[in-house]
Subunit: 747 residues, 2 copies
């Protein structure tokens, strides 16, 4: 294959290569496209192309895009050889499983699976190491379909590969109620699916996270004489993924980190929902990825040139210090005589007539959902192969354990997903006499205490480490050449950061990722945060500067509606601790919530440690921190969260002096409170007490739930302002006096 590669380079390429090889002894980073040289990519298959592909190629050759870079490598793995006709049959099986499932559901996206079936086949049948009977085997290669709408590709592959999660019946239930084959890939529904994709660009970022996790664990645990972490991460991205800014963010980091075992296939089919990508996407994608530090390969004919795909993967593997983008030019809806290469095949069933025509065109005489016996038989080996892969790894692990018992213990503890016994004891404790501090600083104390006892904890900030207070002091930075370290430096890339952390969390290796920025900038990363919640990725979001309390930076930086907006989001914990003990409690909850992400909203400004706060209280979500009523019927209930709990606490003291009984309730997490028993909730907020006032430096939206129709919610239902924090608090009525005044009105 190496010879074929060399001969496949264009003259221009070869000339560059020879001209420069003298300065570069190992010719594995040869840039073979000066901007004036025409790029040719890998050798075209000698078989004639189907007519519509030829048309497409012609059309494109007149376009403005030019590929930019290619790498030729000397060291090439020989891919396993399979009879070409059987490969073709397998690929068509994948195509028709997708076509038939979409047709039966009368809903879905047949175009991508039809175009990507060749690369899908080669990946799952020839390249990837996995164990279909144990989809969670740690050392498996990961596959992410970033263009998640093409999920029938992945379902078909999982089906052929022998995953129990996708039986023939599941394919027939595509997109139906409670099926294991939902409309986009969902890790929590379908074992074998690593992450949840569909919102474009997320998947490639998840893949960056998966590859980061592998590189980190490999650096921590592998030894010169013993390897226990060693897998690739493959990903298919579409034009849509490449248009999304989030993918540029994560891919810039992937290049920076040199994630050499990340191999992304760019399904370059030139079609998106609105038609030809020329209407909105004429950038030079190859060149952009090269600028991001990626290794670029172009497979000109991804429809039928299987050897070129195989070679590209081998070349990608040979470059170990850069992620690789394999641009695979395909025809969307390949095989459909009337709809291929058009947007109409992107997201709709072909229709009975066109399905027939496609069967005719590709010579597929079989009934729907049929898998020919020879294809079935060919794929059946993966059950045995997979078991062997896993058994071999188990052997390696056993050998490793003998040589490195301490490291093996930590490694196995991580992989178990269980938290080390007694870890909670590491959390700092505070009394009202402890020196007051901003909860962002108290958060830093928690992180640095926890990292000593949690081998899985790692994370970082989007260029605000010194403001978010998220540096792990006993570790250095995770960088290209220091991947065993645990401080991640995300740059100013919030959305990519969240999506990368989803990948780390879903690597399934016991890693607990946290990430940080200002709370208001959750607006930039909400797409990823929702996927954390949906896909059960227990990411910890450390969100500081959580209110107008940040002061002078002004309304662009002051969150207002953010608490409410996350309280409304399913399966994510919104925690707003008030002091040291509550911050510790928030971390206890967050670390334990491995299938539910947590958001910690933390103050920029200094706060006192309040009497009555506790870790246990935080675990209940809402609890009484102080009450001077003898029974369960105080005259007034004051609610506060975070930095305003102090205000509620002080207001209560004022009102009590006037002979009233007042309860102060910390509502640190509404979600956790709602999960408590009715008895508990009544014990904290008795229905009979209707004099209620809440105070929170954010939108009052939703507070009616707790203050009721007779109560009052003090908050901010407009944007913030640029001024010192104390001034803004006063001007906006977030004061003890105002709470007292409102309390008097409702009593």
């Amino acid at each position: 294959m190496a010879a074929a590669t060399a001969s496949s380079l264009t003259a221009a390429c070869v000339s560059s290569l020879s001209a420069h090889s003298s300065t570069s002894p190992a010719p594995d980073h040869i840039n073979c496209s000066s901007p004036f040289a025409k790029f040719s990519g890998l050798k075209l298959a000698s078989s004639p192309l189907p007519s519509h592909h030829t048309q497409e190629k012609k059309k494109r050759s007149s376009g403005s895009r030019k590929a930019h870079h290619v790498t030729a490598t000397a060291a090439v793995e020989a891919p396993p050889k399979t009879d070409v006709s059987l490969v073709e049959k397998s690929i068509n099986t994948i195509r028709f499983l997708a076509v038939d499932a979409v047709e039966k559901a009368n809903s879905g996206h047949p175009g991508l699976p039809m175009g990507c079936a060749p690369m899908g086949h080669i990946l799952y049948d020839e390249i990837m190491r996995y164990n279909p009977k144990n989809p969670y085997w740690f050392n498996r290669d990961r596959f992410v379909l970033s263009a998640g709408h093409g999920c029938m590709l992945q379902y078909a592959l999982l089906h052929l590969a022998g995953y129990d999660s996708v039986q023939e019946e599941d394919l027939k239930q595509f997109r139906q109620w409670e099926s294991r084959t939902p409309g986009h890939p969902e890790n929590f529904e379908t074992p074998g699916v690593e992450v949840t994709t569909g919102p474009l660009g997320q998947g490639i970022c998840n893949a960056v996270g998966l590859a980061l996790a592998e590189k980190h664990l490999a650096a921590r645990f592998n030894k010169p004489d013993a390897t226990v972490v060693d897998h690739y991460t493959y990903c298919i991205v579409g034009d849509g993924c490449n248009m999304e800014g989030v993918s540029n963010e994560a891919c810039s980091l992937a290049g920076h980190w040199g994630l050499g075992k990340l191999i992304a296939f760019y399904d370059d089919n030139h079609i998106s929902i609105d038609g030809d990508t020329d209407i909105a996407f004429t950038e030079n994608v190859d060149q952009r990825f090269e600028a991001l530090g990626w290794h670029i390969i172009w497979v000109r004919n991804g429809n039928t040139d299987y050897d070129a795909i195989r070679q590209a993967i081998a070349d990608a593997k040979a470059v170990t210090d850069k992620p690789t983008l394999i641009k695979v030019t395909t025809t969307i809806g390949y095989g459909s005589p009337n709809k291929a290469n058009s947007y109409s095949v992107h997201g709709s069933a072909l229709g009975a007539k066109e399905v027939d025509a496609t069967r005719q065109n590709l010579g597929w005489p079989y009934e729907p959902f049929f898998v020919p016996e020879d294809v079935k038989s060919h794929w059946s080996r993966h059950t045995k192969l997979g078991a062997e892969f896993e058994a071999k790894w188990q052997e390696d692990l056993a050998a490793y354990e003998k040589k490195y018992p301490q490291e093996a213990a930590e490694f196995k503890s991580l992989l178990s997903g269980e938290l080390p016994a007694g870890w909670v004891d590491a959390l700092p404790k505070y009394t009202p006499e402890s020196a007051g501090d901003a909860t962002r600083n108290l958060s830093q104390a928690c992180l640095n205490a926890l990292v000593k006892v949690l081998p899985g904890l790692l994370g970082g900030s989007a260029d605000l480490a010194s403001s978010n207070m998220t540096l792990l002091k006993m570790f250095g930075d995770f960088q290209k050449n220091t991947p065993a370290e645990r401080n991640l430096r995300f740059g100013v890339r919030e959305h990519g950061m969240g999506a990368i952390c989803n990948g780390i969390a879903l690597h399934g290796s016991g890693l607990i990722p946290y990430c940080a920025t200002f709370f208001v900038f959750t607006d930039y990363m909400r797409g990823a945060m929702r996927i954390s919640a949906l896909s059960e990725a227990g990411v910890i979001y450390v969100m500081t500067h959580d209110s107008i309390g940040l002061g002078e930076d002004g309304p662009t930086h002051q969150p207002i509606e953010h608490l409410a907006s996350f309280r409304a989001m399913p399966n994510i914990l919104m925690l707003r601790p008030a002091d040291g003990n509550e911050t510790a409690g928030a971390y206890k909850v967050a670390v334990e919530s491995r299938k539910r992400p947590s958001i910690l909203a933390l103050s920029r400004q200094k706060l006192p440690h309040l009497p009555g706060t506790s870790i246990e209280g935080v675990e209940k979500g809402g609890y009484t921190i102080s009450c001077n009523a003898s029974g369960n019927k105080p005259d007034l209930i004051l609610f506060g969260t975070g930095s305003e709990l102090e205000i509620a606490y002080k207001a209560a003291e004022v009102i009590r002096k006037e002979g009233k009984t007042v309860r102060v309730v910390s509502m640190v997490s509404w979600e956790l409170f709602e999960e408590q028993s009715a008895e508990y909730k009544e014990s904290v907020i008795p229905a009979a007490v209707t004099s209620r006032v809440s105070v929170e430096a954010g939108s009052t939206f939703g507070w009616e739930k707790y203050v009721g129709s007779k109560g009052k919610a003090i908050g901010i239902d407009h944007f913030g302002a640029s001024a010192p924090a104390g001034t803004i608090y006063k001007k906006f009525g977030l004061t003890v006096d105002n709470v007292v005044a409102n309390a008097k009105e409702v009593m």
Copy 2:
């Protein structure tokens, strides 16, 4: 200057130029960097560099970054000549106004203004056309400080240029309560500031929108013999802006659209909050922008090589079919002997001692906030100049009006910001007998009706035009060579789309931008939407597929918490119309709301036209669509919005058959309802009626406000599912039967 440019090219460049000029008669697109050639950029100033700059340069030359591309141009405007020492004095004035203001506030970001003062001076003093006494003069050049934290740069420039909005007193009130110099640039606080920046990456996208608006209007109104639209858009972006994905999205579109009058300065200072950008940002920015279709110029010494900055701007202007990125290598905190070129000068006051040292270092003997007389005198000419610019334009407009009265009338009508008389009559009207339809289709009818009467309406979708139903049928696509058209094709770039639309809206030329995607993907663009709300940009967000009603695409595509999350956001209208009349009403409200953005949540699925719905009702936000009680005390109030209003309506019919009086209330916009009088609200939701049930296919979060503690909210407080829409509605209890059952429980 042309000669200087030619001589400033490196040997490699010149050789490329001569080698290829034969094939390219006008040598204005010469690529002079083969990947092997060293890039040299514009000529270095002959004056020796200050020592810390030299150090910095040394450090960088060992880095991995290499600039990629440069363009030499023949046609060059001669910049006005000013005494160099005066220029330097002016630049130092800018630096110290920033230093002093940050010092007085003890808060802010001195680093950027100190580094960017030279380009700031050149732009505002030598290049830009504006009228300080009329900051809203239409044909002014626009300036956007995308790195908004450096706002003291802009305030200093506005002050020197003679804008009334930034007096000396304002500089002294930097970041204080109610000052006109808030912590980040805010268009609604400071005339002369075009857009609101601070959240990184937004500003450059706004600049793309401003440049798009100019290109569009120029194409529509300019004539071969008469120009009335002709301005540049300048922008300063920092490393942070360039890391954010949103900027890549918008810049890809800027390249695609060929926005030749967009000139962005990249403040390449190699420092971000976390320190040297090498820790997270080692991509080749130049090459990436080149891949995006930009023209790239590098000013190697942006600290003191003023001529290089001037030349770069001239070169940028000479390339008319591409936006230009001028990479200006600067020293953050230039002049501060101990803090320059470090993160410590990024976001904190220098401190008295370092301020003194900086004064010493730059030879600045003056007291804080002092503007030397010669500097003041020099800048004073801009008042006269600006008046002349505007007067000349007014003359041109008058001449244009004589030749092209019809076009001039439309142009002036647009610029007035007033909506044409009678435009509302164009909105379609429906009766219950009209054929039912999805509100996304009814939205399309509104858009296509409105575009006939609203010359400012333009917009498009993030690659979902055929799903969002947003195509304007009487127009083609706005593209590089068809910029007079009004369908914008954003590609799959939601965040960039929103931010570009903010720029279009804030161009101040009567353009009314709309943009579209699936409602769930507001998660991707929330950063821009919040800036719409804050900066009073009346963008219309057309958000279709607004619930589980989209069916099979599943939970990644089904909004749940989104309605609540926007109801909580200040100054944005969340509208969820139920049928044809309500959709028309939503457009009436949205078009009229020029200082408040609107979100229209629209159904994928077909809905009937309900009796009782009306445009007037929508304007009230909440209103009774049917009630069989004679007075204002029905037995039950049923609330619904959007697609669930039909369910409420049908449930009422069932319950009425049992002899009860039931009111059905459409809560199409909570914000508008809350703005009504107490009497009106009581007339719709009488306090005495506590039997209340709401039904909405989304989170119940917040509904306590209307259903009260005795009522019930039917909704979805978990993620959606992949299945046909009808099935999901049934499984999740969004049915007439379930509403009836709940109603009986509360009655």
